[in-house]
């Protein structure tokens, strides 16, 4: 091998004996053009809708789904084809994406998703790749056509206006909210449970160790990275700090308080405030292995002893967001809509943190909220109660 390289170097480093300098330079140039042109033609050929739907995996699944959407047919006749959204428009990114795509060729040859069932099973993973990519580039392909600056907010419905203005101010990534806009959502996100799907769609993709995140919904916790022994449940909108990421598992720390009457299984966000952060199994709650115990003091309003704790446990990767405001926005909309069907919903700051659970529990029979949304809305109300608002009433 080493000899071959040396011989090759000897040949190319010698001046040419038989060919003219002109031929070599011009010919090289022309050959380069031909090669480059061919490459690009071939590349562009792979960049057409026709090519994309050439294999039945694409044709029978995502392509037919696209045809049901506004990106396929609309009153102005502008159609988004596959590469418009899925292939980056600048060259380096395009080449990078094409190299990634070789995996798709492999998949096509070996039949990884050659049936609808296989495709559906794999959809979550495939979608996650695209979401990650769009999150990383701040939804660049969407923004090639849709531009915040060009939007006339006055022409939007009132609801859209509120959301879009907020998004524009932060130059928010479109995919944060518009997952599933051109193809169906993965099944677990669209199982008739619209609320849950919306929450899941708020999850951030990719985490940084040492950073704080918030759970978008209730999540099971485990004692170690194998995610086998259940340690309890993390409540929605709970702040966690990521300590470690190991494949599918992430290690988190929760800084919380607990009441020490009973087994001390329930975690609360702050001293003497019944804002639920989650609960632990009896074993975990009473084991020093996962619990770091801090100061203790008595809550004067109930006479119960409270203790500060730091809990270290593991979660399955996913369902965390870096922005609690986004969760609050969702919770507020849900509260305003669901709790005003029968009566005017009380202002958030009308009650204090520890009164809200009683008021909220007492009215739940009348609203259609799943457990995750209930937990989130209650936490929103508590975090915006008179304890946190200035000049309530």
């Amino acid at each position: 091998m080493k000899n071959t390289v040396r011989r090759f170097w000897q040949i190319v480093s010698k001046p040419s004996v038989h060919l003219s300098f002109g031929f070599l330079t011009m010919g090289g140039f022309i050959a380069g053009i031909i090669f480059w042109g061919g490459f690009n033609t071939a590349l562009e050929a792979t960049n057409t809708e026709e090519f994309c739907i050439g294999c039945h995996e694409m044709h029978d699944n995502v392509y037919v789904e696209l045809q049901e959407t506004i990106h396929w047919q609309n009153r102005s006749g502008v159609r988004a084809t596959c590469p418009d959204c899925h292939v980056p428009h600048n060259w380096t990114d395009k080449i990078a994406r094409k190299m990634q795509a070789s995996k798709e060729v492999w998949g096509a040859i070996f039949g990884t998703i050659d049936t609808r069932e296989k495709f559906l099973a794999k959809r979550g993973e495939l979608a996650q790749h695209e979401w990650d990519r769009l999150t990383a580039n701040n939804s660049l392909e969407c923004k090639n056509c849709h531009n915040y600056d060009s939007m006339d907010f006055n022409m939007m419905s009132e609801r859209a206006r509120v959301q879009m203005k907020m998004a524009a101010e932060r130059d928010q990534s479109c995919i944060d909210c518009h997952k599933g806009i051109a193809h169906h959502l993965p099944e677990n996100m669209n199982s008739g449970d619209g609320m849950l799907a919306k929450l899941e769609a708020m999850a951030t993709s990719g985490y940084q160790v040492g950073q704080a995140y918030y759970s978008v919904r209730q999540l099971p916790m485990f004692t170690d990275s194998t995610l086998t022994t259940e340690a309890g449940q993390l409540n929605a909108a709970t702040k966690v700090t990521i300590l470690d990421v190991k494949g599918d598992a992430i290690q988190i720390e929760i800084d919380a308080w607990r009441k020490t009457k009973g087994f001390g299984r329930v975690l609360f966000e702050d001293f003497a405030m019944n804002i639920n952060d989650g609960y632990l199994t009896k074993e975990v709650a009473q084991s020093d292995q996962y619990m770091q115990q801090g100061e203790s003091k008595e809550d004067d309003l109930t006479g119960l002893p409270w203790q500060k704790v730091a809990v270290t446990l593991w979660l399955r990767n996913g369902s965390l967001t870096d922005s609690r405001d986004r969760l609050w926005q969702f919770a507020k909309t849900t509260y305003d809509t669901s709790c005003s069907v029968c009566h005017t919903q009380p202002a958030e700051a009308h009650f204090d943190t520890n009164t809200w659970p009683g008021m909220f529990n007492g009215m739940l029979s009348f609203v259609n909220l799943d457990g995750d949304t209930q937990a989130l809305v209650l936490k929103y109300l508590q975090k915006h109660s008179s304890d946190f608002a200035d000049g309530a009433h």
Binding site: G192, L301, D336, S340, V341, A347, M359, N361, S365
Partner: protein, 821 residues
């Protein structure tokens, strides 16, 4: 299938005729012969679902919905609501207000003289007044928060429409709480961690299976379960029927604690424990004393699930506060129950599985927080909370609570809030130091004493200086207390708008009155069974809006159009689009759990049936694991002593339940020397609050000489020379009314009843004028229950009754305004 003689004969006639004439002609002939003309259509109501035969543009006949096995008699009143002479026909404006607008002579308010205007004029005036109040004063001067029982239907729900449209124009003063359960819903979150009054209760099948004793504490199930917040299913009556059987077989002992023999007591043929009015707390303290002294209380339960028992029991044993030991003998002197009977009662509760079921009446009195709290303490001492057929509940009489729930989602509603809360014509949100939210029953206080600071639920409320009020499908001239005080207050208001389909007393005291149509003159959708979620009911429009009436949707779209927000208001959708949208969203929410047909199929079938639900035990999860399933109280446990309430420092609602003497109390209490008879104003048997009082023929089935019946004891009647069927004058220092006496042993001596919701019909607009029909709130007291809830105290009311002499004035309550032209 059973074949009636009639249908059999018709069948024979049809077959024999078939030989003579052709088949197509025959079918028509059969249809005509077998049914009265017209179309049968489905609709719903607070009184249940029904099918109506519509012919020649008129509702001809109403029959109960086939899925309703226990329809209420009140369905007979529906037609009379649609075709009532009290219907509002045209937009009307009070005569003097029409001349001078907001500078009108408000002393004329209530003289019922109105002038007819066009819709355009009326909406212009409405809009101009909103503009004037927002610019001249600000949001603190406008109160739109008083909302009530509306007509059913989730798209046209009138409060939602009014509040959405007004909110798109500007901010206004809102309320918290309601007239039905104000004290209960405020105290119970501190004690049991939920409002309780609106929470699902243990399922009836479990109560029937496990309870040995059922105590109905001021709860008249049979009377009150006739109506529901949404379309009522009456499923609970099936279980009451089974309970009746078990009572007869002596398998369950049911005791009704009540000064009156209730409809339920008579239906079940069960026992009564008489108690003096308003003295439930002394009775309960006597019970607690017995349980504690005889060690019948469950110490383990108290230790595990409750806090503060040790701070409470010294009060019972005479070691704290008033230093009076609350022995059964002490209780006897107040509540009128023999000390030994109190002991027996306590022992019975502790002996076996006991379900205590409270009604709402006892919390609609001064210190109404106390009996509810004390009931929870008794239940905690018995230690059966969280067991099937044990513990305590506060709402088994309401909207079929206790019927197992399917858990299906119901349709949402037309949005009450603007889609963008910041997008209003008037952005001024400065309430100038006044409170923007007030306890629901304190708005008349606000009009009379603006700027006054009152305590409410741990906060200080500054009563706003109200100048304008808007009511929609809401009749405070029925549900608020003390009419003559209201008259005084309304003289201070500049402008009052009332939107309704019928000329209530609220319209009489308003300036601009807009005619809405009834719920049967529009298309809508509703949940079938508020708590059982039995299904979804289609509400077909039966007839077009009568006279010049319009749907609430159309009325407030017109208003929103005045300030350019009609498109935002309707979201560009019409009535049927909204109905379909609510249905489709509901179907989406139920996907995978309950299959629902497409909208067209549903609309044609008239309903979707989700079937029967699952049994459930209240607080069972808490009993199983009080740490994870903590209650919503500050501590997460049952709070027998609330440090939080204690810290508020109120004298009329302290750290634990206590006995407080009332401002007025019969049977030897304060004021009974002057006005000896206690007047209870419970929910009516033949109306839904004030709804259906305007249904003429149906009203005639229960009135006495055209007046509201006043129920009283034979001895009380004899003493006053009153006979059954006499006209009587009922009066006290606050007011006077005419009613028709019904003399009955069901009422204990010193106890009388006028059912609330009887329409107010004053002889004139003058303060103190005689009410000609019999509205109990002519006589009731307008004070808060305590500084905690500030709720209504309607059941703290003493009166005197006399036979009415001379010519009785005509009833003025019905038939609409006096039209000036």
């Amino acid at each position: 299938m059973t074949i009636s003689r009639r249908s059999f004969l018709k069948g024979i006639a049809a077959t024999s005729a078939a030989g003579l004439i052709g088949p197509s002609l025959l079918q028509q002939a059969v249809a005509a012969a077998s049914e009265s003309p017209g179309q049968w259509q489905v609709s719903g109501s607070h009184w249940g679902a029904f099918r109506a035969r519509v012919y020649a543009g008129k509702v001809q006949e109403i029959k109960p919905f086939e899925a309703d096995s226990y329809p209420t008699e009140m369905l007979k009143g529906i037609k009379g609501i649609i075709y009532s002479p009290s219907r509002i026909r045209y937009p009307m404006v009070r005569y003097d207000w029409f001349l001078k607008r907001h500078q009108s002579d408000t002393k004329q308010r209530g003289d019922n003289r109105f002038i007819r205007v066009t819709w355009d004029q009326a909406i212009d005036m409405f809009y101009q007044e909103l503009e004037r109040v927002q610019t001249q004063y600000g949001p603190w001067a406008l109160h739109t928060g008083q909302t009530g029982w509306r007509q059913t239907g989730q798209v046209h729900s009138c409060g939602n429409h009014m509040e959405r449209a007004i909110a798109m124009h500007g901010y206004s003063v809102k309320k918290v709480g309601d007239y039905s359960t104000g004290a209960g819903q405020t105290i119970m979150p501190y004690v049991l961690g939920s409002t309780e009054v609106y929470a699902q209760g243990t399922s009836w099948p479990l109560i029937l299976k496990h309870s040995k004793t059922i105590v109905l504490w001021g709860s008249d199930l049979v009377k009150n379960l006739q109506v529901g917040w949404n379309c009522e299913t009456h499923e609970a009556y099936e279980y009451l029927e089974q309970l009746k059987e078990k009572v007869a077989k002596k398998q369950i002992r049911v005791i009704s604690v009540d000064p009156v023999r209730t409809k339920t007591q008579k239906y079940l043929n069960c026992e009564q424990q008489y108690v003096n009015p308003q003295t439930d707390v002394p009775f309960m303290l006597g019970i607690a004393h017995t349980l504690y002294s005889e060690k019948l209380h469950d110490e383990n339960f108290l230790k595990t699930y409750a806090l503060g028992f040790e701070d409470f029991i010294p009060y019972v044993m005479g070691k704290s506060k008033d230093k009076v030991e609350k022995t059964p003998e002490w209780a006897e002197s107040i509540c009128g129950i023999a000390a030994d009977d109190i002991r027996e009662f306590a022992r019975l509760l502790a002996k076996q599985r006991t379900q205590i079921i409270f009604g709402w009446c006892v919390q609609r009195q001064q210190h109404g927080e106390q009996p509810y709290w004390m009931g929870a303490v008794i239940a905690a001492m018995l230690g059966q909370i969280g067991l099937p057929g044990g513990g305590i509940s506060y709402a088994h009489h309401y909207s079929s609570i206790g019927v197992p729930s399917t858990g299906a989602a119901g349709p949402g509603g037309f949005p009450r809030n603007p889609d963008n809360p910041d997008d209003r014509i008037h952005k001024n949100n400065d309430f100038k130091g006044y409170s923007s939210t007030i306890p629901v029953a304190r708005w008349v206080d606000a009009i009379i004493e603006p700027g006054k600071k009152i305590n409410a639920n741990g906060a200080t409320i500054t009563l706003p200086d109200l100048k304008m009020m808007v009511f929609s499908g809401c009749n405070p001239w029925h549900h608020h207390q003390d009419r003559n005080r209201m008259k005084q207050a309304f003289q201070k208001l500049e402008t009052v708008v009332s939107v309704d389909f019928t000329w209530t007393a609220t319209c009489r005291f308003a300036d601009i009155v807009l005619p809405a149509c009834t719920q049967w003159e529009r298309n809508d959708i509703d949940l079938y069974g508020s708590y059982s979620s039995r299904g979804i009911i289609a509400m077909h429009k039966l007839v077009d809006p009568l006279f010049q009436s319009k749907t609430d949707f159309d009325i407030f779209t017109l208003l929103a159009k005045r300030f350019g927000k009609d498109k935002a208001y309707t979201q560009g959708k019409g009535e049927m689009e909204w109905v379909k949208q609510l249905y489709d969203e509901c179907a989406q929410a139920n996907k995978g759990k309950f299959e629902m047909p497409d909208f067209a199929t549903f609309w044609q079938q008239g309903w979707v049936d989700f079937g029967k639900g699952e049994n459930w035990t209240r607080q069972a999860d808490f009993r199983e694991d009080p740490e994870i399933n903590a209650l919503g109280t500050p501590s997460g446990f049952i709070e027998i002593f609330s440090r939080k309430i204690d810290r508020y420092g109120y004298d009329d609602c302290q750290g634990h339940p206590m006995w407080f003497e009332k401002a007025e109390r019969s049977h030897g209490g304060p004021g009974s020397d002057k006005h000896p008879i206690w007047l209870q104003s419970c929910h009516p048997d033949k109306r839904l609050h004030s709804q259906m009082c305007d249904s003429e023929a149906f009203r005639a089935t229960y009135t006495v000489q055209g007046r509201e019946p006043l129920y009283m004891n034979p001895k009380d009647a004899a003493q006053r020379g009153i006979k059954d069927g006499d006209l009587v004058r009922v009066f006290n220092q606050r007011g006077q009314l005419l009613a028709g006496a019904v003399v009955s042993d069901d009422y204990a001596p010193g106890v009388a009843r006028l059912q609330e919701g009887a329409w107010y019909g004053p002889e004139s607009e003058a303060i103190g004028a005689l009410d000609t029909y019999g509205d109990p709130n002519t006589l009731t007291m307008d004070i808060g229950t305590s500084q905690l809830a500030q709720a209504t105290s309607a059941n703290t009311c003493l009166v005197e009754i006399e036979k009415y002499q001379g010519d009785a004035p005509a009833v003025t309550a019905f038939g609409g305004p006096v039209e000036i032209s």
